[in-house]
């Protein structure tokens, strides 16, 4: 079933210059493979490309079941030159959590699913 990444993961973003990092964390160990397989550099770049993002590097932290995405050029030059209300880009962790992921039916009961996405 299709769900929001928000149902199985939490996230936090932080900025340095024109580079943003977003840490994404599985709530439960059984969802970790879903993050690894479905939350890819390509998919993350795709949701920020409209703002000029040029590159995404994904670091895997197996020890804490987390992915760290480092995104270049998303912040329109960074907080010193951006015209965005959120010049630091702090809200962007929740754009990433809005990604759809496919949750195997066998794990359906394990997720905090509020809203199944139907085609």
């Amino acid at each position: 079933m299709k769900i929001l990444l928000h149902d199985i993961a939490h996230a936090r973003s932080g900025d340095k210059g024109n580079r943003l990092n977003i840490g994404v964390f599985a709530y439960r160990a059984e969802h970790w493979p879903i993050l690894l397989e479905q939350v890819t550099e390509e998919r993350v770049l795709a949701i920020y490309r409209h703002r000029g993002a040029t590159r995404v590097v994904r670091h895997v932290l197996e020890n804490i079941h987390a992915l760290n995405f480092v995104i270049d050029d998303l912040l329109e030059g960074g907080v010193n030159s951006s015209l965005n209300v959120d010049g630091h880009g702090k809200t962007n962790s929740y754009r990433l959590l809005g990604l759809e992921v496919d949750l195997p039916e066998s794990l359906a009961a394990s997720a905090n699913v509020r809203r199944e996405i139907r085609p």
């Binding site: 210059g17 987390a66 030059g77 209300v85």
Partner: protein, 446 residues
């Protein structure tokens, strides 16, 4: 190690519970305050130009006065970068506060040497790779400060300082300094220096590790968020850390809060560069050992980078913002018409600004400067707030642009209300690599 503030503007009543908890523990402890963002220092330099006795943390008194008596009585040193652009003036201000509280002969140390504005030649320095290095940087330097490490802080504490005031230092150094001073760790024992740096990294944003910046109702709940306890790291001589917070406070310390902060503003988790050590967190183990007690072990260290990083601040452009609300039937259509009118007016009047129009309530923070997401939105909303952002090197064209939103009151679509406008000057920053031999950090006592 406790933390009393994670940024300039943090809750000023939070440090008291942290100090009380350390005092009641019967163990040795110190409290750090991290109040110096990248641009905060430039603002300090600008303030100092107008008044040579200013340029330090504006909330210094509010943070310190309530805790100074307990800190002195319980021998809890205070370590902070609230010296900003003028650590010596901050030290004098602390002296005055201490005297007013009857705390005579407080030993206040000042760490200086981070300010390299007079001594560097930017043309001969390498830009840090995280910057857009093709970006040309304008002439006048407002501030240039190197991130110092923890050695001078430790030196000051071993010499008996009760308060250590710094300018720019790496944020985790505010914890590492006291830990090295207490345990006598070898600066070349990389894993221990890494552990102390990790403790500092987890503490440096204050409540962000103890339930602040975390709540997501129904998913991640935080008890009593109006009274979040600021964090305490209980560090052992072998570098093991237990993250916790004062009893009787709100907030939450869990594996989740610690994980979120572990990689906050970190890029490569195997190579977090600080002046004292290169920290690798990929082997860190995080375990909840009791309610609001989380064990953090396994930081690994490697030698630090050859050069130090300096943040250099330059005058930036002017940013003007103006907002107006539309609500009720056909609200979005009226807001879109208003945006169109503003765009046309800026063009008609030849105002040379970079401009962006947001529809707050539909898509704004996630949108591009060209409103791709907003344009794709169809449907009605109960209300929407139109926002213009305009920037330029000259203030006047920004001011004229902002006034076009104000003029919508009488000339724009029906039912617009609640105009607010603001204009402010920005500061640009760039990062450079400075060879260590060019930097001479120093400790002096007031």
């Amino acid at each position: 190690m406790g933390c009393g503030a994670g940024f300039s503007g943090d809750r000023v009543d939070a440090p008291q519970a942290v100090v009380a908890a350390i005092a009641a523990s019967g163990k040795r402890g110190a409290i750090m305050f991290e109040t110096l963002g990248e641009r905060t220092l430039a603002l300090g330099h600008l303030a100092r130009r107008n008044d040579p006795n200013s340029g330090y943390e504006p909330l210094l008194d509010e943070f310190l006065r309530p805790i100074l008596p307990t800190c002195v009585a319980a021998a809890i040193p205070i370590v902070s970068n609230f010296g900003a652009a003028n650590p010596m003036a901050a030290a004098h201000k602390i002296r005055a506060a201490a005297n007013a509280l009857g705390l005579r002969a407080l030993k206040i140390a000042v760490v200086s040497g981070d300010d390299v504005r007079e001594s560097i030649d930017l043309d001969r320095l390498e830009r840090w790779e995280g910057d857009d290095v093709n970006d040309t940087v304008p002439g006048e330097i407002i501030a240039a400060n190197v991130y110092l490490g923890a050695q001078q802080i430790a030196q000051a504490l071993r010499a008996g300082a009760q308060v250590v005031v710094t300018g720019r230092v790496a944020d985790p150094a505010l914890a590492l300094g006291p830990l090295v001073a207490h345990f006598g760790w070898d600066w070349n024992d990389w894993d221990l220096i890494a552990a102390g740096t990790l403790a500092g990294h987890l503490l440096e944003c204050g409540a962000q590790v103890s339930g602040g910046y975390f709540a997501d109702p129904g998913y991640k709940d935080v008890p009593d968020p109006a009274n979040i306890g600021f964090p305490i790291a209980e560090v052992s001589a072998n570098g093991d850390i237990v993250m916790t917070k004062p009893a009787g406070t709100g907030g939450r310390v869990s594996t989740m809060t610690v994980k979120e902060q572990l990689i906050y503003e970190i890029h490569d988790p195997a190579n977090y560069l600080t002046p004292d050590v290169t920290l690798d967190v990929t082997g860190v183990k995080i375990d909840e050992i009791a309610a609001d007690r989380v064990s953090v072990r396994g930081a690994r260290g490697k030698p630090p980078p050859r050069d130090l990083k300096a943040t250099v601040c330059f005058p930036g452009d002017w940013l003007g913002e103006a907002e107006i609300s539309y609500a009720g039937p056909n609200a979005l259509a009226r807001a879109r018409l208003a945006a169109d009118v503003v765009r046309r007016r800026l063009a008609m009047r030849g105002l040379a600004v970079r401009a962006r129009l947001d529809f707050i309530g539909i898509q704004s923070v996630f949108d591009s400067d060209t409103s791709d997401l907003q344009n794709a939105f169809q449907g009605e909303v109960p209300e929407v707030r139109l926002r213009l952002a305009a920037s330029a090197a000259d203030r006047d064209s920004v001011k004229q642009s902002v006034q076009e939103v104000l003029a919508l009151y009488c000339c724009g679509p029906a039912g617009g209300g609640g105009v607010r406008t603001s204009i402010h000057n920005r500061i640009r920053t760039a990062s450079y690599l400075v060879p260590r031999h060019m930097v001479r950090p120093k400790v002096s006592f007031l």
